[in-house]
Symmetry: C5
Subunit: 251 residues, 5 copies
């Protein structure tokens, strides 16, 4: 079999109509299931998940503690001057600085987290559904090939090659599903889980700042989200030095 | 294979008894599972999902803020005069204007949302079940064809065409499932998720109006339901101008 | 193929040993899984679901409002004299009339609803499991047939008819599953969902009566369970007239 | 086919290596998945589920009401003298008699119920996993047989019997799964659901005794767990007579 | 068949390209789905689950009671001097000794438990996904073999051996899945459930220590997590003697 695989004529695996049936059918079913904008969004999300760096939750914890220090020394209003690229952290700080009621802050941030989770779930769902549709259309392509071949069967010796060609759509469908669509859906799910941890840290941190907890306790609570082996120790001096001067938080 | 697909005799794929077995069996199983009225409702819902425009959640947020402004200036009773085609928003405003206790308003609206979610789920379920039944009856049709063919087998040369015909019901069943029933079920599920967001915005907005929150905070809370990139900024003057004069809310 | 289906010898599909393998195996596996009494109950429930009329939730709402009127005019004790065939409504009214503490009433009714839901789920589960076992034993029957046929294979020409006979158990198993067991399981599930809505209306209605809410608000709350298009409007005079005289509620 | 089944040589279905592959593989995979002690426990539980009688929930309700009467007449301490084989009921009575705080009693009993539910779930899981592994190893055995047969293929006439032998492992695997492992898993699940109802009755009953509810209301609440048709009516005199004299509760 | 299995040429089952397709494909799909660090972590976790001893929950209960005794005699601050290898217990004692607010202690420990559960779930998920990918790539390998074989089919007598070789990847994929990946995933899940019980005991125990419950009641509550047959009786003297002298807890 090594011989077959190595010496085998690999041309037989390139077959445009088979590709068209599998990809076309999968795309058609996907575009009935989801609006085009969501499919496009899912593909963008898939692109980002392989290029964007993960945010280290230790950095998020450190940022929250820095913000807690600012709010303890300069008052909650000082949080409005913080610059950050993280829009969720930005919103949390703005609501606190604006003096919004605690229940409204909690609810708004919860809604943000839940809405974000749902959007990410829909992006995964696009790839999970494609991972389901692709083998289905692969099998449909094989059925088309078999029916055509069996109908026009005059010469038994052509049965082998005909069958080989018919099986290729099943091969494409399964390959696309097992090597691309389902792994990407899984990747998106895993990345979502990690991002949710960072959002939860910000949420719990915002609550701690509102309740004016001391930074060491904030550290104890927030670091619970991080696996013990990856937790950075609590170093108040570093944190104070780095963020007080510029009020700019890099998360 | 390109040749096969392109030159292939496409007539072989039109076969009335096969269609009858797959569609008839699927319909029979579906009508045992669901009352006729629910199947009809599911098909109507499927028709609407491809023709009706989605309501933009930004419009819902803007409408709620407009209503909050009305209630702050003219009192809660003024909400009873609001005209809107959205029956859920209408009910919420009527209950508030009638001075119903807050707990009853919350519970009534929650029941509405949950009951609506269940009804939509049942409509999806009709198509999901059809997506399951169709390939099952496709396979049953193929079994019928195979058994008949094998029983009457006198001439081995007729085996090919007979098998081709028998496989067509499997083809129909899978095609109907993968290209119509399951994508439509998915489409209905996605649309339900979007509609639920609008209902949740109205629910949270009604609670905010009851609690007399200020419009900017209402905007902060309700816009949390919308993806950050699609959020419209808060523009109090536009909102005030457009709705105060006519008391008619287009959502 | 039309010809095959129409002219085909239908006798080949009647095969007693095949029926015995599929039905016997399915029944054996089902009776290991469930006690006989539960299987009998599930079949009775399946019989009822196709013969008993659904209770219209509008009637339940109207009954609750009538009872609310009785309790407001004649006191909670008057509810004990109400005659009704609905044992859940009867229990609710009896507990209220007996002056049981509100928390105990709520908990008792919640337990009733949940216990009823679980019983109905078990009845569905009987059919869902049968829908799983039937194709499994169909396939087992085909394996028995194939093994016997292949072992005794002397004459290749008998292979076709032998295979046809072996495939019939698969046909039976799939047909029973897709046309009977699974649709009945689905039917039972859908009926349960509808009955639960009526129980929830009674539950919420009993709470409203205990809290002495006014009938219009009770109507607003309870009608939320009903799809907007099917809701009957609130007509206080009809309701009062019909129930006050006889104290007999038909739900 | 009747002839095949009835006259068929049944010897072909006894094949030791096939049994060894299916049972050995299933056992190996099961013992990797679960510790030996859990597998042994699951088999003991499966043995008991077919031999032990179910406890009638009516008896449990009656026992609780008897205990409520004892505690009302003789004080909560009297509950410590009650003899019963039900260790959950024993613990509940002991905690009440010891004067433990209500919240601790509730939490302890909840933990007992939940821990018991999890243990029963793991026992079911052993059989459910075996029900999954058995057909998988059946198919693996068939693949082994096919590969060996196809490799050594010199004489086409031996293809039939060889295939028959290879298919037997698939037959074994599916039969074990569909007739033993999965039905036993289902049986354990159903028994667990019934036992949980009895535990819930004891839990709610203990709460009622703590709150000193009157016996009729306790009956109304606890009998809600029982299907209406199977409920025993409330007979205070029988209950009083039987349990007061000996303080021994048979549940 | 015994003969086939025993005398069979076992060499045919060693086939390097087949191994490469199945393992390579599975690994590729897994590394798209998960970051390399998580896959490595999952394999480490799988190694530990077969080598590390389970912690007996009775020991955890005994340790908690010992700590409760220490805190009752020497005050909560004494808990800070306790030495233990269990980092979760250590954190709980440190937070209590530091006088952190009860709500923060509860929340921190809850977050620890939930974060640990999620990490363990991801480790299982690695193996569950591999258990799914392996048979998929096994089937893809067989399709490659079949297509190549059918394309180059000149001599029908080579069909048997060619097919045998093609089937071997399916065999590998299923074997890896059913004998390694899925059982390991199940093992990890079961171990996680056991570890979670120990964490829950520590959590509930920490709450009891905070609430200054007496040791017998703590025993009653915490032993509820342990199956009745495996519970160790409460022996206050043993517990006191062993832990008071050295303040070192072995859990």
């Amino acid at each position: 079999m090594g011989a077959i695989f190595l010496r085998g004529n690999i041309d037989v695996f390139f077959n445009l109509p088979s590709v068209m049936i599998v990809l076309g059918g999968t795309l058609a079913a996907t575009l009935i299931t989801f609006p085009l904008s969501e499919v496009a969004h899912a593909f963008r999300a898939a692109g980002q998940v392989f290029t964007q760096k993960k945010v280290n939750p230790n950095d998020v914890v450190r940022a929250i503690i820095a913000l807690a220090n600012i709010s303890r020394r300069q008052g909650l209003v000082a949080l409005s001057k913080v610059r950050t690229n993280n829009i969720f952290l930005k919103k949390a700080m703005m609501l606190i600085a604006d003096g919004a009621p605690e229940s409204l802050i909690r609810q708004s941030l919860r809604i943000e987290i839940e809405a974000m989770r749902q959007r990410h779930m829909r992006a995964q769902d696009v790839f999970r559904k494609m991972g389901y549709y692709a083998p289905a259309f692969g099998m449909l392509g094989t059925l088309i090939g078999l029916v055509q071949m069996l109908t026009q069967l005059h010469d038994p010796s052509s049965l082998g090659p005909g069958m080989a060609v018919a099986l290729i759509t099943t091969f494409y469908g399964s390959l696309l599903s097992s090597l691309f669509f389902l792994p990407i859906a899984g990747k998106l799910k895993n990345r979502t889980l990690l991002e949710l941890i960072n959002l939860e840290i910000i949420f719990e941190g915002a609550v701690c700042i509102l309740e004016n907890n001391n930074p060491l306790l904030i550290y104890e609570k927030l670091s619970s989200f991080i696996p013990p082996k990856l937790r950075e120790a609590y170093r108040p001096e570093v944190i104070g030095a780095r963020t007080d001067t510029q009020h700019s938080i890099a998360v």
